[in-house]
């Protein structure tokens, strides 16, 4: 039996990502020896596996998605060598007291989450050990382990989000944009825009949108005649507070003239349906 014989039955499962870790490791160790036969078979299996995508029921994304993407792509194409926001001579303005307090709270929360993640990892380890010790309890410990793993994954995700928010709020290259209320009695909102990590928009004591409406962020392009680019939506909590993280803005800061907030139906709109309630020019 050649070396490859023992791996032939694994090609499809490897391409599918279904091999369990020991088998995967064995096959990868074999591939690392430079086996062209197995590499070719796996390359073919990869193509076969992608055909399974056609089993998904047909569905179409909203026109809004295409609109958003095309606006981003067009504006990026126009500025082939975009200048990062952080490269501007203007840097972060003074961060108000309430925002500093928010950052401090965020950092404390991050520390708490880090501690909790560590605790969960220890629980996971304990569940694994228990699993090994007592086979009769496998079913119950397995479900505990799965629940802990899910909780851990969710917390790690939450931590990554908070890390990003903290980075945006504290990085000296972030640009601050103050959004003033337009023709309504409401406090201003503050956005911090980091060239790499995105935008954090914060609001306090913001009037609640009517019905199930939401607040939607728009990027107003510098280009003459450019249409507002739709971004994410948010609904403040019961006290009118919110923190909105936009990880992938539809345009860069150098291409944007201002940020605006409108009230829109739930789910947001492709184009504004109301006049902006808050507007803030890029500094």
């Amino acid at each position: 039996m050649s070396n490859c014989d023992q791996f032939r039955e694994m090609y499809e499962a490897y391409a599918l990502g279904a091999l369990d870790p020991p088998e995967r490791a064995a096959l990868e160790a074999h591939l690392a020896t430079g086996c062209a036969e197995c590499a070719k078979a796996i390359a073919e299996a990869r193509w076969l596996v992608t055909q399974l995508a056609y089993l998904a029921p047909e569905a179409a994304a909203s026109d809004m998605l295409k609109g958003r993407l095309m606006q981003t792509v067009r504006s990026e194409a126009k500025s082939s060598s975009p200048v990062a926001i952080g490269d501007k001579t203007t840097t972060t303005s003074h961060i108000p007291y309430w925002l500093s307090a928010g950052i401090a709270a965020l950092l404390l929360l991050t520390l708490y989450f880090a501690w909790d993640v560590r605790r969960l990892k220890q629980e996971l380890l304990a569940a694994n050990e228990q699993n090994q010790r007592n086979e009769q309890l496998v079913a119950s410990t397995e479900s505990e382990r799965t629940a802990t793993q899910q909780k851990l994954a969710a917390m790690e995700e939450q931590m990554a989000k908070m890390h990003r928010e903290t980075a945006i709020l504290t990085d000296p290259t972030s640009v601050k944009i103050t959004l003033a209320a337009q023709k309504i009695q409401a406090p201003q909102m503050v956005a911090m825009w980091h060239a790499k990590y995105g935008i954090v928009l914060t609001g306090q004591k913001v009037p609640m949108p009517s019905g199930n409406h939401v607040l939607q962020l728009w990027l107003i392009p510098k280009a003459p005649g450019g249409k507002p680019m739709p971004s994410m939506t948010v609904r403040p909590d019961a006290n009118g507070n919110f923190v909105l993280l936009v990880t992938n803005p539809p345009a860069s800061g150098t291409e944007t003239k201002a940020l605006a907030i409108t009230e829109e139906p739930a789910g947001g709109s492709a184009a504004p349906t109301t006049t902006p309630k808050w507007v803030g020019a890029m500094s």
């Binding site: 390359a43 076969l48 399974l52 792509v73």
Partner: protein, 199 residues
């Protein structure tokens, strides 16, 4: 690292002329918006269908699709036609992103894992592959997989759309591990033979 070895060991011959898709992707390097729109119009439906099937919710699905196409626009140089056709590359990237969303993976994990999965994997399509348009291909794949027994089909779907491993599928279906392995392998081989025969 492993996949670098892969490439050194095996690099498929590209004896065909550049495909229309590869030509469009090359145009992205020159900031050709029209080429991007053509690729989006051609493939957004299958990409969105796949992602929606995995993440099950339209909002997160659109976020993943946006991420995939922006990655294509901003990093089109990552696609190397010498390593295989465009569509499997795009679908692999979409599947990986969608599964990451499903598993709530952190961005750090995502970056580390996808680097190897997407950038350096070689894909070889059979000669008959280019003769199928998207609609006919979808019909054939659905018909062929529909002929498998329901449990076998379910096992393949759990692996592809939920990213489960053999042992996870065996636990989910309450079937022996060996049975699950055979179902998946034999099912995919039947699909491969069926696609070949039908061409």
């Amino acid at each position: 690292m492993l996949n670098f070895v892969f490439l050194a060991a095996f690099s498929p011959k590209d004896d065909r002329e550049a495909s229309p898709d590869a030509t469009l992707v090359r145009l992205l390097l020159q900031n050709d918006v029209g080429a991007f729109e053509k690729l989006y119009d051609k493939y957004s439906r299958i990409v969105y269908s796949l992602v929606l099937r995995i993440v099950q919710q339209s909002g997160p699905a659109e976020e993943v699709v946006q991420d995939v196409f922006l990655q294509l626009w901003r990093n089109s140089a990552q696609y190397d036609a010498a390593r295989g056709p465009f569509v499997p590359w795009l679908l692999t990237m979409a599947r990986n992103r969608a599964l990451d969303t499903l598993r709530l993976k952190s961005e750090r994990q995502r970056r580390l894992e996808n680097q190897t999965d997407e950038l350096f994997s070689v894909v070889v399509a059979p000669q008959y592959e280019r003769e199928l348009d998207e609609k006919r291909r979808a019909e054939r794949v659905r018909s062929l997989v529909g002929e498998l027994n329901p449990q076998q089909k379910r096992a393949i779907e759990l692996a592809y759309f939920q990213g489960l491993s053999h042992s996870e599928i065996a636990a989910e279906l309450k079937e022996p591990l060996g049975t699950v392995k055979s179902w998946i392998r034999n099912g995919l081989i039947r699909l491969k033979e069926g696609l070949h025969t039908a061409s």
